[in-house]
């Protein structure tokens, strides 16, 4: 069972602060981490590899050269190979251009039975790259997986689809995005950290290493453009309301509806 896991280096959004004056993101001093659900994908890949006889787990990422540390982290968790697709020409890619570029790298890797991705990243929060990648590669997909079982070339996936749980079956090769409920990612083993730096390499592929259609990469290959970013500035108002109970309840419901907090 050969498994490819796509990962992304993201800023730790718990640490991200916004400049209240400019509305710009303050990234300085914010640690870069491996996207949390990508760790669930790595864990699942390692688990599936262990339960099959042989094969290897490859992590693949697109990003600047600094993203190498994220791949080292994946190696420290125990994956076999790490590939970083990095080129200035890829900068500004949206999910279409990103999924295209990743798909071309995966075509170069050639041998794989399964591609696993995190359901979504904590920075862009789109959850689109997985399904879009599946489309570029013409693979069956399952999103938000909470359980994966493999027998021979049949993959069974249990996914939580809002109010229902769907059990799907498909043939390998397939692409599955995993939810953070699928497992608990392992901690990094000290000796694996050593091996990740001493015995393993992060392979870097640039534009020239892939057979790319230039119209599909980077900013120019991205249909969507960011027009503006802004912040909902919000400080606690400390408003005090004293009314009969029924009116209080009414006000609370209005507050919940106004902020679109009610889940139906």
């Amino acid at each position: 069972m050969n498994i490819i896991v796509t990962v992304k280096q993201v800023p730790d959004t718990h640490e991200v602060k916004i400049d209240p004056k400019t509305g710009a993101l303050i990234r300085e001093g914010v640690p870069s981490i491996i996207n949390p659900e990508d760790k669930n994908a790595i864990e699942e890949a390692l688990r599936l590899k262990k339960s099959s006889d042989d094969g290897e787990v490859t992590v693949l990422s697109m990003g600047p050269l600094q993203a190498e540390s994220t791949l080292r982290e994946a190696l420290s968790m125990g994956v076999d190979r790490a590939i970083l697709v990095s080129d200035r020409a890829f900068a500004g890619a949206d999910t279409l251009a990103t999924s295209y570029t990743l798909s071309m790298a995966i075509k170069k890797i050639e041998r794989y039975d399964l591609i696993l991705c995190g359901s979504q990243t904590i920075d862009g929060e789109t959850g689109q790259v997985g399904p879009q990648l599946a489309e570029w590669l013409d693979l069956p997909q399952a999103t938000h997986a909470e359980e994966i079982n493999i027998q021979g070339n049949l993959v069974t996936v249990k996914s939580n689809f809002d109010s229902v749980t769907r059990v799907m079956e498909m043939k390998t090769p397939a692409l599955i995005t995993v939810s953070n409920r699928i497992n608990k990612p392992r901690y990094k083993h000290m000796n694996k950290v050593l091996r990740a730096y001493r015995d393993k390499a992060v392979v870097t592929w640039s534009k020239e290493d892939l057979k790319l259609n230039p119209i599909r990469i980077g900013l120019n290959g991205s249909p969507t453009w960011v027009r503006k970013t802004f912040v909902h500035s919000h400080s606690r108002d400390g408003i005090v309301v004293e009314k009969p109970a029924a009116n209080c309840a009414e006000d609370i419901l209005d507050f919940i509806l106004e902020k679109a907090l009610l889940k139906l």
Binding site: T13, Q141, R236, G238, I252
Partner: protein
């Protein structure tokens, strides 16, 4: 930016014919030929392994022929009987966008895409909720949602109809389906939008979504590709008031399927039992403190919490009293939480508790003491008896949900 076929390189493999979402490539004498109506999406160029298809006069960035696209299409999610709430919200939004277009002197139709089997009078309902036109695909194969053939159906519809805007609910289904379609159509997609508007100058769709854990809002446009696609968060847009007299048209479409289209097989669909999430991951938390008086008091909060789809939390005081287990404790010695909404009931707000909730997006407090520290740490504090307010609130939420369903 016309597409040209270099006859000498074309091997007649027909890959481009299959790849063209707009079905404007045909084979003549073993060579690909472009028919009128090409949108310049470039799907054929990606597919051709022989470099036989290129853009003529490529200017660095692919620009589709956006003038060919018209109208707003909404994909309808349903349970084969009624349309989901978010789909009706999207119709309402699409109506609003159509009005905006018409103010800009551009008449646009709102089209609902209804795919399923034995759909009853749902199409009429969609018209009543704002659709001008309903495209109905009624086929047993579509009885259950499946990524594979639903993608094919919508791509086929989009290929024929060329909508300017194509909207989906940001539900599990919408977010499973829309990205695949966007990839196949070679266009842009914005996820989980909370606002949509038409840019006054350019007439394009401005799509706003949260990012970075809700720390920031981003407005995204898709100027050069069509359709402009978005998934939209449920509960944000307003439904169009139901008008049973509204006039609209219906059209039945047939999707050509063959067995190779079925690559994902549904083995089972089960109702999910309510899954409790970790407090740290909860979107809404209802929490009780010393003011709930006893275990029974917490039960009352639990009914509210269930109605809201929230998780139940507690301050240390309530845990120390033994009213609830320690895994519910929030604060310095308990859990640090960051829900979108934190409702603190009968919690005075000791420093150690506030440390655990300060990352919440909104905090509402219900308390009898207007001098309690929780007041200044909250967005709004309602002074009153939680035993009176909470049950009424629970009922009002239930009513609201019934009303809008």
């Amino acid at each position: 930016m016309p597409v040209i076929v270099h006859e000498e390189k074309c091997t007649g493999c027909k890959l481009c014919v299959a790849a063209c979402p707009y079905t404007v490539i045909s084979m003549q004498e073993e060579k690909a030929v472009l028919l009128p109506g090409c949108t310049y999406c470039g799907a054929c160029i990606d597919t051709c392994e022989f470099g036989a298809i290129t853009f003529e006069d490529f200017q660095g960035r692919l620009c589709m022929d956006v003038a060919l696209f018209k109208g707003t299409h909404v994909f309808i999610e349903h349970d084969n009987q009624t349309a989901s709430k978010v789909s009706l919200e999207l119709l309402g939004k699409a109506r609003g966008l159509a009005d905006e277009f018409s103010r800009q002197g551009k008449d646009q139709l709102v089209t609902a895409i209804l795919i399923g089997y034995e759909l009853g009078d749902m199409a009429d309902e969609l018209i009543a909720y704002g659709a001008d036109h309903v495209i109905v695909v009624n086929d047993e194969s579509f009885k259950m949602y499946r990524t594979d053939i639903y993608t094919k159906a919508i791509v086929q519809i989009a290929g024929v109809k060329k909508p300017e805007i194509l909207l989906f609910g940001a539900t599990a289904q919408g977010r499973d389906l829309a990205p695949r379609i966007a990839s196949r159509l070679r266009t842009g997609l914005t996820a989980d939008c909370t606002a949509l508007e038409i840019c006054k100058d350019e007439g394009i769709l401005l799509q706003t979504k949260p990012a970075f854990g809700g720390n920031m809002m981003v407005t995204i446009a898709c100027p050069d590709n069509r359709p402009q696609m978005a998934t939209v968060r449920p509960g944000v847009m307003k439904k169009y008031p139901r008008d049973p007299d509204k006039i609209g048209t219906k059209e039945v479409m047939k999707i050509d399927l063959d067995e190779n289209d079925f690559i994902i097989h549904i083995r089972d669909i089960m109702a999910s039992t309510k899954k409790h999430v970790k407090l740290e991951d909860a979107e809404i938390i209802v929490a009780g403190g010393h003011g709930v008086n006893n275990q029974q008091g917490l039960k009352i909060l639990e009914t509210l919490s269930d109605e809201l789809g929230a998780e139940l939390g507690a301050s240390r005081a309530a845990v120390d009293e033994g009213w609830i287990g320690q895994d519910h404790q929030i604060g310095q010695t308990g859990k640090t939480v960051q829900p979108d909404l934190y409702i603190a009931c009968g919690i005075s707000g000791s420093l150690q508790h506030l440390a655990g909730i300060s990352q919440s997006k909104y905090i509402i407090a219900i308390n009898t003491d207007r001098k309690a520290p929780i007041v200044s740490a909250s967005d709004v504090t309602f002074i009153g008896d939680l035993f009176q307010i909470v049950p009424v609130l629970k009922d009002k939420i239930r009513e609201y949900k019934k009303r809008t369903d």
